[in-house]
């Protein structure tokens, strides 16, 4: 199956053949996996890299001098270099490995607030943040007797800039998402970063949804911190990254303490290790960081611009086809170039659980619920929505299966 509009054609079938799980049958039907905003499937290259590590190179890293340790350490640290290139960071010591984007954001929030936040200060977030980029700030604001300001968005997820600037005035931190996991909205991260800096805020960008689906250039965006998640970009679970500008990472205290993040430990005091290890306490998820390396290779070979182009195409077709269905309500931007391939919708009065269950009986996997964005759900005046999200292995046949499935939902429940 060829993509018509891409100037660099690729075969969906070829891509799919790299992903073993896509050969599965679900309730006797072809698996149509449309829950990529929740997690992505893994190519054989990633699976093999992890097996290879455990079969041939397994060792703890950084401390031992034997051969296995050497190989494991090298493979681990090479991944750090690959992440640095992938997001266009300046220095390898600005890339910290965590267990996921949630932990990366918690680390940033905890340590920034510890160092910089005083009673009476304020932190600005938006209404459409994922709980991982909302709850930490909310809780830390309470802890430090500071205020949480919530910038509003319109129906398309665009931040109200006039209101935002008022809230940023005097604030210490501005945290925002680069792509909404509900509305699909691609924020103007560069502009939001600039607004944050105009008001002397520390800028924290949540790239969990954006980094897998479009090129990331941290120098362009110029945020101070950036979080991403391996399992949302073909990598294994258990790995996330926090990018932080070196000067700031030097200033803020560690989040977790223990082995590997120290240089010297005495009875009454400890000196921290250098960056980035200052923020990597204990044994890391070594195997999966190395597996992540294979995911980055896969995406880099394919080309992130091409991923985005493919998804804009698919998104456009999906929006067109979905709108033909009677009583469908689609949330967020209707222009697929302003929206990652994440489409939240409701189907008349049918509850999203029921939509998702009936689609499942047709082999179609979507997500239903609040998508870890209850503040946004409240703003949208819904308790839950259905959500279909695409990736490089999805094609027009998947859109067709989704629409056919939705017709079945209507037959059964309306």
């Amino acid at each position: 199956m060829l993509q018509e509009n891409s100037s660099r054609r690729f075969s969906i079938d070829d891509i799919r053949s790299d992903f073993p799980v896509l050969a599965r049958r679900i309730h006797g039907k072809r698996l149509v996996y449309l829950d990529n905003a929740a997690t992505t499937q893994k190519p054989r290259q990633v699976i093999n890299r992890i097996s290879d590590y455990y079969e041939n190179h397994n060792s703890n890293i950084h401390r031992s001098v034997h051969q296995l340790a050497d190989e494991a350490t090298e493979a681990f640290e090479v991944t750090r270099d690959k992440v640095k290139s992938f997001v266009n960071a300046k220095r390898r010591e600005e890339i910290v490995f965590t267990k996921n984007a949630t932990e990366a954001l918690n680390l940033a929030a905890h340590s920034i607030c510890e160092r910089y936040l005083k009673a009476g200060d304020s932190i600005v977030v938006t209404e459409m943040e994922h709980h991982s980029n909302f709850v930490p700030w909310q809780q830390l604001a309470k802890k430090h007797h500071a205020k949480l300001e919530i910038a509003s968005i319109d129906d398309e997820g665009k931040v109200n800039e006039e209101e935002l600037e008022i809230k940023l005035n005097g604030a210490k931190v501005f945290a925002f998402t680069c792509m909404s996991n509900v509305l699909g909205t691609i924020t103007d991260a560069k502009r939001l970063s600039a607004l944050g800096h105009k008001h002397n805020c520390i800028v924290v960008a949540d790239g969990a949804q954006s980094a897998p689906h479009m090129p990331t250039d941290i120098q362009e965006i110029d945020c101070d911190f950036f979080a991403l998640s391996a399992h949302k970009m073909l990598g294994p679970t258990g790995v996330g990254c926090l990018y932080g500008k070196r000067d700031l990472l030097d200033e803020i205290p560690p989040f977790l303490f223990g082995g590997d993040m120290i240089k010297q430990v005495h009875r009454d005091e400890t000196q921290w290790n250098e960056l980035p290890w200052k923020f990597e306490a204990g044994t890391s998820n070594i195997a999966d960081v190395i597996g992540f390396s294979a995911a980055i290779d896969y995406l880099t070979d394919f080309g992130m611009a091409r991923v985005f182009e493919h998804e804009v195409d698919l998104g456009r077709i999906a929006l067109e086809e979905l709108q033909k269905i009677d009583s469908i309500e689609i949330f967020g931007p209707m222009d697929s170039s302003k929206k990652g391939a994440v489409i939240s919708f409701n189907l008349g009065q049918v509850h999203p659980h029921d939509v998702a269950s009936i689609l499942d009986s047709e082999g179609v996997a979507i997500r239903s619920g609040h998508h870890c964005a209850q503040v946004l759900m409240e703003k949208m005046c819904v308790t839950a929505t259905s959500r279909a999200s695409f990736y490089l292995y999805n094609g027009e046949d998947d859109i067709q299966a989704l629409c056919d499935g939705l017709k079945k939902v209507k037959e059964v429940l309306t």
Binding site: H353, D354, V412, L413
Partner: protein
């Protein structure tokens, strides 16, 4: 296989809910939501001479949770308190036509049971045992 979930009996209760509403001055009431987001069920009960003389449910949610709530009110209505105590997950699911629910959707079906039991024990001045709490939500 998953279409086994939407048996006729469930669709019937979903489309034509019995006992949906509220009671003027109920003897007890309880409300809860599903951890699998989006289902809310409230139950209101009235008692007379050791029996449930009236029961109403209200709420918003998926077909399974709302059908289960409605069916449960029919199961409970008019029964002696001791009989209502005995209503458990097995009986509930049998009366729903033993749908093939899976680990995640079963919480939708069991939510009304948990709410009803909470209201019942509230009235009796008792507490649900840990075992009962666990088994009524898994």
């Amino acid at each position: 296989m998953s279409s086994d979930m939407y048996k006729e009996i469930i669709l019937d209760y979903y489309r034509n809910p019995r006992n949906r509403g509220t009671i003027d001055s109920p003897d007890s009431k309880a409300r809860d939501s599903n951890p699998l987001c989006g289902d809310v069920v409230e139950m209101q009960l009235k008692f007379s001479e050791g029996k449930v003389s009236d029961i109403k449910f209200s709420g918003d949610g998926c077909a399974i949770s709302q059908a289960s709530a409605s069916m449960l009110t029919e199961l409970v209505m008019g029964k002696a308190v001791d009989e209502v105590r005995k209503i458990d997950k097995t009986l509930l699911l049998e009366n729903l036509g033993s749908p093939n629910l899976g680990a995640v959707r079963i919480k939708c079906a069991l939510l009304p049971l948990k709410v009803m039991k909470t209201a019942l024990y509230d009235y009796l001045g008792e507490k649900m045992t840990l075992e009962e709490d666990a088994s009524s939500s898994k």
